[in-house]
Symmetry: C2
């Protein structure tokens, strides 16, 4: 597994400057423990200045505190710095957000507070990626959903992205690594658990290398997606003029680039991206005229060969 | 369902010249009967000159002959021409090919014998497409596998590509359409049946609109794939010189375009496309030197900044 981790770190250019500060997001579960140890084994070879961080969400009472203690002892044993955030997640949960979402936000806020001069390594595996790709596929997605979990984004890196759950289990067994088990782990995400427990084992009967096959696909598709997005971004800049977009320039684009450019227009104007709204926007561009209302308070309108996004308040002011 | 068929015919530009000769590939099963009738309902509106064709593979004894008779009567009732090929498929099966593959080849040969002045409509549905996409995903594929069944290729069109199996069932019920059931239908393809019977129903519990979602995804991905292939084709032409390929020109390409160009080089030199062989070929191009043996009798070699494909016999002659 050390080789798989090393190859992923190099292949995806996870490390740029040497020596490199890497902080492992350490929950204490098997994945993050395997991540910590594999980087610990590689730290001299890859010139890594290793540390760890842990968020105690206080969601599981004594169990949460036990996990924190477990993680503290592991870092003491390996003699690496540990940054801990102890936070009562439930205090921050509102009606509109799930506990998982809030916990995730707190975690990622903590990561960015740790400083931009370091990389945060999270323990997402090829098996997680496989589940994510299948979830996106099942729920309905465009190409981007097929890209799965990015191996690297901003200062977050995922060195285990080419390791399967079996690799992790074997690695933990090989070195008798201790880890904690989250008693709620099996009940957080209905769809993901259904996939993991019922569906993926069935798919593996068809192709035992399912996880690796899907990883390979998603990494290849991610390159395609990035390339197409770059083209769309460039074309959108060419079409942009005084906060509006030239319809003639947009009309000249291939369908697949136009769709992406329109999605970018939605994104920069805080319009939620839905397939029907996108199709309607593409249609008025192709028609060279028209007006649509893709979401509350927002209108896309073509006037004098320019597409503009107007919000309701502006509209009322004009009329 | 008639609307879905009409929309698909128009959206994918299935019909070009009017009036248009369309021959439905009619097995007698529910899908192809629904296809025949929906086009029959639309024939005046879309100016279709409708006919049908049927291949009696003689694989199921009396049942095969019964199907042929059923189809003959249906076309007599609708007063449309029927072209029948009666062939003993088993006489053409060799050790190297499956019965399904030979039957398919015979069918498509028959279609092309019917003449280039007509379109052949096959009854592939959104449900078939969903299965195909999932099979490709599970077995391991690049972007192209995610495109599923093309709505139109050469003179083959698939007007039911946006209809689900439920649409077909409802349509057959609505008009009390008779159809035959292939007694072997449930046992021809292990993977497809496993998906259809065990896995897809589970996935539909997560997303009841699974088939439509996957259709939408595969149609959007098909546009991306076509666009990227077009770029790769153009770049490959620029790199081509005297039957060889300029390594400098190939090195200048983005990774995703280079991979496609290399796949095209494999294809035009009858080298089977496998992910490992492709990756190795990309590697020697990036290195600017090297030689690989992607399959028996074939070598890819870089000499004097040009990549060439040589076969074993040539190699022996040179050495």
């Amino acid at each position: 597994m050390k080789d798989k981790v090393k190859n992923a770190v190099l292949k995806f250019g996870m490390i740029k400057e040497l020596p490199c500060k890497i902080t492992v997001a350490l929950s204490g579960g098997a994945d993050s423990v395997a991540l910590l140890y594999s980087l610990w084994f590689l730290k001299d070879e890859l010139q890594i200045e290793l540390s760890a961080c842990h968020v105690n969400h206080n969601l599981r009472g004594d169990e949460s505190d036990g996990d924190e203690m477990f993680v503290r002892r592991m870092c003491r044993l390996l003699d690496i710095p540990l940054y801990v955030r102890n936070i009562k997640v439930l205090d921050y949960v509102s009606k509109h957000e799930s506990v998982e979402l809030v916990a995730r936000k707190i975690r990622y806020d903590f990561f960015s507070e740790l400083g931009a001069d370091r990389l945060i390594a999270t323990a997402h595996t090829a098996s997680d990626n496989c589940e994510t790709v299948l979830i996106n596929l099942i729920r309905g997605t465009a190409l981007s959903g097929m890209c799965g979990i990015p191996p690297k984004r901003d200062n977050i890196i995922r060195p285990l992205i080419d390791c399967t759950r079996e690799d992790i289990e074997n690695f933990c067994k090989e070195y008798s690594l201790p880890y904690v088990t989250d008693s709620t782990n099996l009940s957080t995400d209905y769809t993901r658990n259904k996939l993991r427990i019922n569906i993926i084992p069935e798919l593996k009967k068809i192709n035992p290398s399912l996880v690796t096959s899907i990883s390979r696909m998603s990494q290849s598709v991610a390159l395609d997606d990035l390339y197409l997005d770059d083209i769309a971004k460039r074309e959108l800049e060419k079409a942009r003029k005084d906060g509006k977009y030239s319809v003639l320039a947009l009309q000249s684009l291939d369908e697949c680039i136009l769709r992406r450019a329109v999605a970018m227009i939605f994104d920069e104007n805080d319009i939620p991206i839905g397939s029907l709204a996108l199709a309607n926007a593409v249609q008025i561009i192709r028609d060279g005229k028209g007006k649509i209302n893709p979401c509350q308070y927002k209108f896309l309108q073509i006037r004098k060969k320019y597409l503009s996004v107007i919000t309701d308040t502006e509209k009322f002011r004009r009329n």
